[in-house]
Every structure is written in structure tokens, then in C-alpha cells.
């Protein structure tokens, strides 16, 4: 079959032709073309009826956790602050991850039937532990801004991650405007909790000396918090927003 004919029939089958006269005439005069048309229609029906593949909730949580860890990797992000301080975050993060995974596994109702996926998390965490042991002196970093300073009552905490040093940014000016707009209360973050709720939870949990780095929405909402004082020996902690209870803390 000529290339032009195939393109014409395929386009006719998917309904993308403005003028179908030539395609219809071709189909009437060519048996091979009719077979091709039926074949294209059949494949289109099969493909268009398939829903997109999706990650499980556990896979999404693992993806988020691994990204959070990786984005503090010193080999890909500019380090800031004293090395020992950064290392303490890694160690704390690992403890928290192990604790959170344990808690979530229970809360998400993962029984023995999910052992394969649970095993995957454990294995990944174990990889991270190996990483921190090997590269502890240049551990992942976190450059967190004070939470929600100057923001209005409805604004979620402002958090900052260390960005890669990559020279002038085409979007830098736009980014600055967005930052100003956010500080002017034009930002909307409907999925995040209010500052009052967050402050209330920090107070309830006895963590008023901590700042919020991130809010995670998993089976429920969690706050990831760390000390305001960078010299503090307290470490990264998760708080469950529903109960304002510390999910796991390493003292």
C-alpha cells in the first residue's frame, strides 16, 4: 500500500480528515485499504478504552519520600550550613521515614497481603541508610525558611528548598513577582491547612520551637517540622494534623 494511502485511511479512521471524499473513494475501490481501515479502527478502539495506569497510594508516598530525600543530596544540591548540622537532618530523616512508613503501613491497612510492597519500602530505606553511613560527612541538606512569617492567616507555611546553582534563570523575574504576590496574600493553597491550625498543632504537640518544612497529604495530613534553632539537638518530626500528635520523634 502506498504511504499516502495508509496515511489517508489512518486519518479517516481516527476522524481527523476535514474532507473525507478521497478516503471514501479509496475504500470503495481497494480491498486492502478496507482491511487496513478495519484494523486501524480496531486498534483505536482497544487503545482508547484503556484507562491510564496509576500508582498506588503507597507508591505515591514512597515517591514523595524518596524525592524529599534525594533533593537534599549534596551531590545534586548546593550545601549550606555546617556539615554536622546537615548530617543530623539525614539521620533524623531516616528515623522519621522508618517510623512514618511503619505508622502508615498500619493506618493504610497493609497486612501480610502487601508484603511485597512493604518489603520494597524497607529495602529502599535500607539503601538510604547505607548512603548516610557512607556519605555522612557530606549529608543531604535542607535550607528551610521560617514558617509563614508575614503571611496572612489563610496562608500555608512558606517553605524553601535549596535550589541548584545554575546561573541566571529565565524565570527569575517571574518567580520574584510570584513570591511578592504570595506574600501579599494572593496565593491560594486550598490543599494546605491554615496557619492557625498548624500553630495550634505545634502548640498541642509541645513543638513551638519547631518550624514547618512541609505538609504531606497521605492517608491524613502530616506536618514535617524541624527546629527553629539550627544549633538545637532536636530533630525532624512528623505531626498528624488530625490528632496533633507526634507520629515519630527521635530525641
Amino acid at each position: 500500500m502506498h504511504k499516502h494511502d495508509l496515511d489517508l485511511i489512518a486519518a479517516f479512521a481516527e476522524g481527523s480528515l476535514d474532507d473525507e471524499t478521497e478516503a471514501r473513494a479509496l475504500l470503495e475501490s481497494c480491498e486492502e485499504c478496507q482491511a487496513e481501515y478495519r484494523s486501524q479502527l480496531e486498534i483505536l478502539t482497544i487503545l482508547s478504552s484503556a484507562p491510564p495506569a496509576e500508582m498506588t497510594e503507597l507508591e505515591k508516598a514512597a515517591l514523595h519520600r524518596d524525592l524529599w530525600t534525594e533533593l537534599r543530596n549534596p551531590s545534586t544540591n548546593a550545601p549550606t550550613g555546617p556539615a554536622w548540622y546537615r548530617w543530623s537532618y539525614v539521620a533524623a530523616g531516616l528515623f522519621v521515614i522508618v517510623g512514618l512508613v511503619g505508622v502508615l503501613s498500619g493506618q493504610l491497612g497493609l497486612g501480610s497481603g502487601d508484603s511485597a510492597e512493604s518489603g520494597e519500602i524497607t529495602e529502599t530505606t535500607s539503601d538510604l541508610a547505607t548512603f548516610s553511613a557512607d556519605e555522612g560527612s557530606e549529608a543531604p541538606l535542607l535550607d528551610a525558611a521560617p514558617a509563614a512569617d508575614g503571611a496572612d492567616a489563610e496562608s500555608a507555611p512558606t517553605t524553601t528548598m535549596a535550589a541548584e546553582e545554575a546561573g541566571p534563570l529565565p524565570y527569575a523575574e517571574f518567580a520574584e513577582q510570584a513570591r511578592i504576590a504570595r506574600e501579599s496574600s494572593q496565593r491560594s493553597a486550598p490543599t494546605l491547612s491554615s496557619k492557625e491550625d498548624i500553630d495550634h498543632c505545634l502548640e498541642e504537640a509541645g513543638l513551638t520551637d519547631m518550624k514547618v518544612v512541609e505538609e504531606l497529604v497521605l492517608d491524613q495530613r502530616y506536618l514535617l517540622v524541624m527546629p527553629l534553632d539550627e544549633t538545637s539537638e532536636r530533630t525532624v518530626t512528623f505531626i498528624a494534623m488530625e490528632t496533633c500528635e507526634i507520629v515519630y520523634v527521635d530525641e
Partner: protein
């Protein structure tokens, strides 16, 4: 659903270091990125790795996004390139044969089949297509991107996209025909 204007503003906030904005971008696109990666790579674990690598790149390269295309298109282009890299790396390693059956007692395999939601014979036929054709068919027919979007993601002319999609479908039909007769 995030509007295009808001998406561009979100990327700007990611550049300014706003972690919440990055989470929002990720939440909006993670399922589709995973879906694209799964269909291109044909393996759930590798697709999860590729999804993670994609969003790492999105975060690190956010400052280079110029707003000339939709954020989603830009992210899918990154995802496809990440998948290409994975395929290149895999070619240098011993290959893993595609299983011809699924153990029903294996929850991971069961979950993978359920999530992929493609009949096994379609998955197999898709994996047998040349990469260029498969990627065009995956983006166009399975992920529902328009031809101009596919052209942007794959960085090829629209005419080439059409050609690859049409021929990809044809090869897919032939593959399925061969499976039925064998």
C-alpha cells in the same frame, strides 16, 4: 485542574524555592507521568524510578522552563527523555525476559496488572514495537495527547508524529494478529 496561567505561576514559585508549589505540580502530573513511563518501559519498578527521576529533573530544571509550552508538555518531554536514558542504560545490562504468565498469588504482579489496565496481549504487542512508534502511540492513543503536544514532547515535526502513530497502530494490529494465529 490547574489552569495554564496558574501552572506557569506554580513553576515560578518552584524556582523561588516554594516546596508547596512543587508538591502541587507533582500531584497534578505524577499519575500521567507514571502512566507514560509504564507504557514506554513496560516495567512497574522501572516506571516508578523514571517517575522519580522525572520530578527530580523538574525541580532542578524549573528555572529553565521558559513558558513556551504547557507545563505538562514540558514535564512529559522530560519523562520521555528519562525513559530513553533508562532504555539506553538497560541495553548495557543483561536483559530481563518478559514473563509469559502471572502468578496470581503475587500481590505485586496482581497490582501491576490491575493498574496497567491493558490486556496482557496488548502490553506485549506494545512492547514489541520499535521505540519511536511505541512512544508516539503511547502518548497519542493511550495518554490522549494531541498531535502538536506529542510533537513537542518528542521534539519531532507533526508530520512525523502522524506517520509514527499511523504505522505504530498498524504494527500493533499486525503484532496482535500474529499473537492470535500463533
Amino acid at each position: 485542574m490547574i489552569s495554564p496561567g496558574n501552572e506557569a505561576a506554580l513553576i515560578a514559585r518552584v524556582v523561588s524555592g516554594d516546596r508547596g508549589a512543587f508538591d502541587t505540580v507533582m500531584s497534578a502530573h505524577q499519575d500521567r507521568v507514571f502512566s507514560v513511563c509504564l507504557r514506554i518501559l513496560g516495567d512497574r519498578e522501572r516506571a516508578l524510578d523514571a517517575t522519580q527521576d522525572t520530578f527530580l529533573t523538574v525541580f532542578r530544571k524549573a528555572g529553565q522552563f521558559e513558558g513556551r509550552s504547557a507545563v505538562g508538555t514540558w514535564i512529559y518531554r522530560i519523562a520521555v527523555n528519562v525513559c530513553y536514558d533508562q532504555i539506553r542504560r538497560a541495553k548495557r545490562r543483561p536483559s530481563v525476559p518478559i514473563p509469559d504468565h502471572v502468578d496470581p498469588s503475587d500481590p505485586a504482579a496482581e497490582a501491576a496488572i490491575e493498574s496497567a489496565a491493558l490486556r496482557p496481549e496488548i502490553e506485549l504487542a506494545l512492547s514489541a514495537l520499535p521505540a519511536d512508534f511505541r512512544n508516539a502511540v503511547v502518548l497519542s492513543d493511550l495518554e490522549g495527547l494531541s498531535l502538536p503536544q506529542v510533537a513537542e514532547v518528542l521534539e519531532i515535526p507533526i508530520g512525523t508524529v502522524k506517520s509514527r502513530v499511523f504505522r505504530g497502530r498498524r504494527l500493533l494490529a499486525l503484532q496482535l494478529g500474529n499473537q492470535n494465529t500463533s
